[in-house]
Point group: C2
Chain length 236, copies 2
């Protein structure tokens, strides 16, 4: 990256830089994403990913954390990862905006609250949103779709799936995370064997869950490992 006299950056029309965050959570066995209901034009009433302008004194990740907090009331997600930048000249009709996409996990999303610059916030099944090409404004459909792909990949070779689970959880809870994110059914027995064979994925607490139907499951918490090797490939 170099600067020459004939391309003084100050001579350019200003770009704005934003971050947009796809916050995923599992609810009722469904993968959901937190969306903001726009209260203003353009696209009044349509849905958007939470996000907003990066401030002069913060880096991109800090902007993502702050916007998340402001727009959804959510403090420090359990996972926050950048996956790409979007900068087509006409992606926002108002001005030239380049946005940086992040995806995040929260274990059990507290009901999001509208913040200063959001009219409302809600959790919507990702499948529903992606099935309607016009549900989201701008290029947020593409951004959400890319975010989901990155989340799917992350589940293959990292242990982030445990971040969807609050505190102590059963192996079957973890399986439902994989099933919800990947959109497939997994064999219960094979999943159990596999997870327990992976060093540091989960560690036993000695506790069991009571009250449900069927045999009470043993409970685990997230282990110390952060990578799964060899990866846990999803069915293709």
């Amino acid at each position: 990256m170099t600067v020459a006299a004939d391309y003084d950056p100050r001579a350019f029309p200003p770009f704005a830089v934003t971050v947009d965050i796809a916050v995923f959570t599992i609810e009722d066995g469904l993968l959901k994403v937190a969306l903001i209901e726009r209260g203003e034009e353009p696209h009044k009433g349509s849905l958007a990913l939470p996000g907003g302008f990066v401030r002069p004194d913060e880096n991109l990740r800090e902007a993502a954390v702050r916007e998340l907090s402001e727009e959804t009331g959510l403090e420090s997600p359990d996972h926050l990862e950048q996956f790409g930048a979007y900068g087509d000249p006409d992606r926002d009709p108002r001005m030239r905006i380049v946005t940086v996409g992040y995806w995040a996990i929260v274990p059990d999303l507290p009901e999001p609250v509208g913040g200063t610059d959001a009219a409302a916030a809600r959790k919507v099944p990702v499948a529903d949103v992606l099935n309607d090409r016009d549900a989201l404004q701008f290029d947020h459909h593409q951004i959400l779709s890319d975010a989901l792909e990155h989340a799917k990949d992350a589940l293959e070779d990292t242990t982030v799936a445990t971040d969807f689970c609050e505190g102590e959880f059963a192996i079957s809870d973890l399986r439902r995370v994989y099933e919800a994110v990947w959109g497939v059914e997994l064999d219960q027995g094979n999943f159990q064997n596999k997870v327990l064979e992976i060093d540091g994925f989960v560690e036993p607490t000695g506790n069991r869950r009571t009250g449900g139907r069927g045999r009470p499951p043993e409970l685990f918490r997230a282990g110390s490992a952060d990578r799964i090797d060899p990866p846990f490939r999803r069915p293709r």
Copy 2:
């Protein structure tokens, strides 16, 4: 991404948006990257990834293609892929610049030529650059390192390795691509078997290469497949 009255983008100090490109090629069995020698302050004389400001009327990829052409004389790389954005407030001492990283492949890089805003351009072994934390200006060390990681990953589950090879090539040429990018030695026989078993990775031309030492290899060209499934995992 939303806009509220109290965060009018026009009230912000302008951000500049740039692209930086890590162009990889194989030369003498080594993975090399094209670097620009800066002719101006700051960091005069130090090396940088080619790149530059995104113009108001072009998207990010177009900016990458244009800058690549301007700074290295290179037209349309065989592979060009975005991998991340970098935006720490102090990453460039002159002003707030957010840069978007791309990595690219060229089969046998023609000697790069300095363009309008570059004093010179050269190909340098990636290992040498990454072993010297101060070889590159700004955060280009991190960017190059991330680019390499993405290139390594891409070789695992896509057929982009063939883009490093010009026209017709031997299986051993392809093997040397993998060895150079991954920085490992691969078993010759196993590699051959594996590549030929993957549908659409390479297709035979019926030609052989003559003149070298040893048995003349059959020559292939890139096949129609673009993904390798199951992936060709690199040794860990």
